[in-house]
Amino acid sequence: MRNLSFIMRSAQYFFAFFVIAFVTAVLFVLREALDTTLVALLYLVPLGLVTAFLGFGPGIASALMTFLAFNYFFIKPYYTFAVHRPTDVVILVIFLIVAIVISQLVGRMQVSLAAATAREREATQLYELSAALAGLHDELVIAQILAKQVQAVSQGEAVEVSIVGGKPFEFNLPDASPPQRFPEWVVPIEAARGVLGTIRVWRTGPALTSSEKRLLQTFASQGAVALERARLAQAESRARVLEESDHLKSILLSSVSHELRTPLSTIKAAASSLRSNEINWDSPVRPELIAAIDDEADHLNILVGNLLDMSRIESGALKPKREWNILAEIVGSVLARMKHLTDGHRLEVDVSENLPLVPVDYVQMEQVFTNLLSNGVKYAPENTLIRVQAFVENDFVHVVVGNQGPQIPQEHLERIFDKFFRITAADRVTGTGLGLSICKGIVEAHDGRLWAENVSDGLAFNFTLPLIWDGMSPPKLPMDTETE
């Protein structure tokens, strides 16, 4: 750096020398035609220009050189440096004064221009930073932007923005590992409620100037504002989520206690009457009571299972164990198991076994079909049609489970998948109000989509399941056909 500026400086002096030499040569050719005073005036032109463009040092050098050249070539006797007349001394002094005055003026102008430019750059950088930070709520992104801007301004070899409090982390530029030495400059990111982090700058070049430091300090406080805003927003949304989950929990508690109490009452009543001597050993009521206990215990088990599934979906712990499965087999096994429930309805199943294999969790998919079908059985009148259809649509398999039950008002089509949402009063139908939200949770965990729509003769649940799994299409298997 230092070498380069030395070369630049020398080049300026050489250039000044050449300009004066060139002007001298031109004037020398015209010497006989020009008056000495005119020559002195003409010399002021290059002198002024050189000083204006090259600054003080080259200006003074040019003034001296101009005087020497003028004295040597243009004042009689020619080719001597002897000064005979006092006016010649005056000319020298004028040359020097001109050089000094112009260089001072130009210098002052350049300084104020540089200051203005610097101020404008600072303002631009500050503006860019605050524009980039505006509306951000992610602390990591804020730290990244801050680091990038600090890096751009400081031109340092490395920058680290470390955030403390909440989830502490560090973000480093240009790569993840900062240099193994003390940074050249550290500034805290300070907000009203304390230190939120620090910015570290490593720069081996010239020390940071005071204006650079001031700018970086401003950056730090901009960062602090953005971070604080992000944290306040997070705190607020946390508070809102807590409030909502609190509300849901109280709904859950009332719904669950209602739902649990129904089978429990049946079990209690049946078991206690069996224990008492009120019912004879050979009474025909006995097997009925025993069957009721058995059925209601199963019902309780399903309720508890639903609650567990829901909490798993909500906490994001529901991870499908995907395998290539035959959809027809899943539907078949669900229908076989639900036979006693669907007896009152007519079934129409169109799920071809020639559909491609689908990458799904067998158990979870069974549950989706079970819940959608029992929903249809529950709401659609007896002897109506329940349809299950599946077909391939691009890279998805599209499943429709339709029933001829009552339609759902348009504004509720989305909401029926919310927990505990019911259109009918809770005491008129059984269930936890969780079945459909569990279906939605499972289908979405499979990267699919579940929605309901009113069709001409009733209601249809639609869902899609991707056929592509980890970039792989459904496998096609070579069959062996030779028999034993």
């Binding site: 567990l308 499965n325 096994s333 229908l335 067998y362 158990v363 034993e484």
Partner: protein, 231 residues
Amino acid sequence: MSNAPHILVVDDEPQIQRAIRTILTEKGFKVTVASSGNEGLTLAAVNEPDIVILDLGLPDMDGVEVCIRLREWTQCPIIILSVRDSEHDKVAALDKGADDYLTKPFGIEELLARVRVALRHSAGRQGAQSKMVRAGELTIDLVWHIVKRGDDEVKLTGTEYKLLAYLAGNHGRVLTHQSILSNVWDPADANHTEYLRVYMRQLRKKLELDPERPQYILTEPGIGYRFIADE
């Protein structure tokens, strides 16, 4: 009573202990109860039970670990108990040597059916392996590789027969996907459940009256398959 089969129940919940003990004792079994994994391992070593019924959620150690430790020295049947939604644990225990599983809450018929299958298989291990498996109208001759439905011979491909023979040879027991794949195909194919799905479907079409509602080859969701033969 000294000839009664001895069952060791390892479960930490007193209610379950009470229920299983009452039912099994009533059915003429000799029952010992352990409340922790370590106690279970000790009692198993002392009493050499005929069957171990093992809960997977024990207070002191993982049930799968108990399975592994038992299998280091005994081949006695292990039936695991677990709650719903832990297919992963069940499969892990089955692949580590457990013979069968029951999901809590379970019915008494299920429990007794598992115990019967377990006793038959432990007898089979000591020699008298069945050569002929009957299930409804199906007859599977494991010696001559002949499968009949009623009086008609069913034509099976090589892989289909191997699959059926493995299932029928272990009838009554649950077989995990992995164990079927590595026994019928190759241990390297243990993750290719799709082979199983497709061949099982073909097999059911040839054997079952209604392939949608199989009677002989049952799907154990998330775990594997079970072949049901006549007792």
